[in-house]
Subunit: 213 residues, 2 copies
């Protein structure tokens, strides 16, 4: 019983801490490529939903390398965490529009914080399975599938992020990413064109799935 009430106390304290010390900020924000949504060290008082474009959330490792924890596309929520201040960075990948909701406002318009947290948790777990995969081409194949799924399963779509972003997301180097894309292209699994070879058309979904599943 005492354990139970202790947990209830945690619940209260977490939220009060998160909300205190900052004015509730809500509204729409427009950002250009590379512009920052929040930085490590800032107070975490809001959560954000992508309205258009895409956002990358990343951490810096001990040796200064950037590791992208997740990309967020239209409709997805990010920025929720347990600590009082952010330990990560969020930036627009391209021209982007986000909605900002103060966590404290969840009482007025109850946003499903638990749902957001669980969705993010599930995504983080899925990413672990992806990243642990040894082969570079498998990671890239899985990434292409993930991006296709984000575009409603379209056969053709445009990557909003650079090869460098993809590399930092998959834990590879830019060169390995480029090589894997080349392999997928020469083996007729995908077709690449457009500015920076970011326009992707999936030619052989089965072949892609066989690699990335």
């Amino acid at each position: 019983m005492t354990t139970m009430s202790a947990i209830a106390d945690n619940c209260l304290s977490t939220l009060n801490v998160a909300a205190k010390g900052r004015q509730s900020v809500s509204g729409i924000i427009r950002l250009g490529p590379g512009e920052c949504v929040y930085q490590a060290g800032e107070r975490a008082a809001s959560i954000y939903q992508v309205q258009a474009g895409a956002v990358r959330v990343y951490c810096l490792t001990h040796n200064g390398h950037r590791h992208i924890l997740s990309f967020y596309g239209v409709g997805e929520w990010f920025g929720l965490q347990d600590a009082e201040t952010h330990e990560d960075f969020a930036e627009a990948v391209c021209d982007t529009q986000i909605r900002c909701a103060a966590v404290a406002s969840c009482m007025a318009a109850p946003i499903d914080l638990l749902g957001v947290a669980l969705t993010n948790l599930a995504a983080a777990r899925a990413r672990q399975l992806l990243v642990i995969r040894p082969s570079a081409i498998e990671r890239v194949a899985a990434f292409v599938q993930e991006m296709a799924a984000r575009n409603s399963g379209a056969r053709e779509f445009e990557l909003m992020m650079s090869r460098s972003d993809i590399a930092d997301y998959l834990g590879l180097t830019v060169e390995s990413v480029a090589r894997s894309f080349t392999k997928l292209r020469t083996s007729r699994v995908i077709h690449l064109q457009g500015r920076g070879q970011r326009q992707v058309r999936i030619l052989n979904p089965q072949g892609l799935a066989a690699l990335g599943a």
Copy 2:
């Protein structure tokens, strides 16, 4: 205060879904090494807290390999997720005692589900940073530090899991794990002894941190 109730509402809605079709189960469960807490496909109607021992939660990958998502030690909660059924497996690592709480019971005795979810999310993110690290010895060093932290930062403690568990947790092979432990031993960073070389004493915390930080 109202924040609380909003979360309670969320709690209710999510939990009704999760709890339906299964009797609420609460209580204490004792398990021996390798015994199962839940399996993929089972309805997710409860969350669990480790009272003694340790639990491993893992997924099976497409090619049949086991990937351990997380270890849970005394006091930690696991089993919470957004899907209606589990997609992962939970097993006792050693002799273990867990507390089982039906999610539906959170209305009567409000467990901080959001807090549990956010803690798990933070852990998943930390693990991404660990696993993405290229070097095997760095991963093992970070793992040893994590285990030390779990034992209240003790200099000496016993690993409850096998080398095989560690390998599946770190995304390495058993051999690489053993080699890394050997390197840490021969470089006088740690000392190993006891059954299965699972008794660890940290001789050089700075050296360990330099590798694993």
